[in-house]
Point group: C2
Chain length 324, copies 2
């Protein structure tokens, strides 16, 4: 029998490495394609050791590299589906310069769609982001909310990717799942608020400098819950060709101040916290965020952990990861 291949871009990264463990558990052979610019082979080594996961190094923003990656995966079986997670994940770096988000987040999507069409692969699962909503103030952000005016190039290129996938659905895709991710925490962290705080405390255990005034309120999902939601949505029935879901916890989230306090409690209890004055940490950061996951709950999924527990678990995991 010919093996069914899940082609997973960016899978050596934070979320991808958790996702592919679940895909393997679901009986897939996974081909990880990653340029290791953010990800690392160490994140997936134990999965590579099983023989159920293969690795191919490619920068998928290049059409020819994308063709080559599909050709490689096709030698192992029939590519059944693409999970597209490759993206720039360092949001602040792309705020004033669109190049990195254009190439790593959007042009990877374009190349993948073109190669899917040429190879007649008709199912895509895409890691989009709540950043596509921009800053709509106190508006409850449902999947029907608009206007969509992202305030970072990261959000803009995720929205551009959604748009290209949507157009492709009209002409040659059978299944498109668009997952709008919340802030996600857990192991192995490569970026994000907890990782940043611990990195700063590692170089100076006496002081934690927080960008912004600490009042930014956001909800956080643990990566284990995120992957659970993605597979739940992927396996659900739908009358629509495009399944589009906000994924997130049910609560309204926690403040940056609370996170800073939990981090120092865990790794550096004597540290003093020093806050900035702005209501956002950096240009492109969304200060407040009222994210509806009602549609996903109606589908029948609920997270195991709320924002507080997700943060506390992730603090523990990342402290171990960083040897603190």
């Amino acid at each position: 029998m010919i093996k069914k291949i899940s082609f997973v871009s960016g899978a050596a990264g934070f979320i991808g490495s958790s996702l592919i463990a679940e895909l393997v558990r679901n009986g897939k052979h996974v081909v990880v394609v990653d340029d290791l610019s953010n990800g690392s082979l160490s994140n997936i080594q134990r999965l590579l050791n099983t023989g159920l996961v293969s690795f191919y190094n490619a920068d998928l923003s290049s059409d020819s590299a994308c063709d080559d990656a599909f050709a490689y995966a096709s030698t192992l079986g029939k590519i059944d589906e693409v999970w597209h997670l490759a993206a720039n994940s360092d949001i602040p770096s792309g705020v004033s310069n669109i190049e990195v988000d254009l190439k790593d987040t959007f042009l990877t999507t374009v190349s993948i769609l073109k190669t899917m069409k040429a190879n007649e692969v008709r199912s895509i699962y895409f890691a989009s982001s709540s950043a596509i909503y921009g800053d709509l103030g106190d508006v409850l952000l449902t999947e029907e909310s608009g206007p969509l005016l992202p305030i970072s190039n990261y959000g803009a290129m995720k929205l551009a990717s959604e748009a290209a996938i949507s157009a492709a659905s009209e002409s040659y895709l059978d299944i498109a799942c668009i997952f709008r991710f919340p802030n996600v925490v857990g192991f192995p962290a490569t970026h994000g608020v907890i990782f940043d705080f611990m990195s700063r405390l590692k170089s100076n255990a006496a002081k934690l400098t927080v960008l912004g005034n600490g009042t930014q309120q956001k909800s956080y999902l643990h990566v284990s819950d995120l992957v659970s939601a993605m597979l739940f949505i992927a396996n659900s029935q739908s009358i629509n060709k495009i399944k589009l879901f906000n994924i997130g916890p049910i609560d309204r989230g926690v403040s940056v101040k609370w996170i800073a306090e939990q981090v120092i409690k865990r790794v550096s209890p004597q540290a003093k916290i020093s806050y900035g004055t702005a209501d956002r940490g950096w240009v492109g950061d969304v200060p407040k965020f009222n994210y509806s996951t009602a549609k996903l709950q109606q589908l029948g999924w609920q997270p195991l952990l709320g924002s507080e527990k997700a943060i506390l678990l992730a603090i523990d995991e990342i402290a171990v990861q960083m040897g603190m």
Copy 2:
């Protein structure tokens, strides 16, 4: 006194040539930048003759060509604002192949934004499209409608451009106007339903083949009204950095069947009309369309012509243009 320059991309095309006539009337010196892939110098010759309009040939999807175009315009005065109309306007051609819309519609936006940043030009006026809404069925399409799931690469790359402009507004633009165009008719036509029908009748005066079953209902705006609305919005006060408006007539539009009947009545009364069976003309075509322009009306603007009169005027104009 240093001249204030309006840099207008794609201005040798259908809408651009009407727009720049108004900009000149408003006291601007206009630099038309166009690669003449869709546009033509004949559309703007009488304006070039005034000495108030200059022309520069460039494909703005290239960063270096875009730099050169800005450098040229800067020799004539200070670039005050960019009107970005350059785009692929042949929607069906991009339905199954993203290349043309990616390059001509989206990468032109990216290059222009980067060059604006480098040249500290902080005002952009962007020709977006109702195609960004995709097919939301009977939903009334307001600026707040979502989800935005375009069904053509044309719509997708217009939405991607809006997203990139939105992110740029957060970091270095002062003014961004996003105009969501309806179907626009008038002179000098380069594409569109009337132009297509007349082209077919020119090669066979006895028969008009209509793609789709003719029931597609759309609203149409005359280009003179469109330009009037753009300048009205541009000159309006706003508390928002981004002014985002649907532009269109107030009526619910006319059917393709009605347009076909008016066209043959004007240019080929003996022709028989032959309809297809699909409820849309081509993949990516939106069959029905309920487009709200309430926000623009509240601002105080109304079109002079409804869909019917706009179509009848355009039929006359295009018949003359095509010598029929």
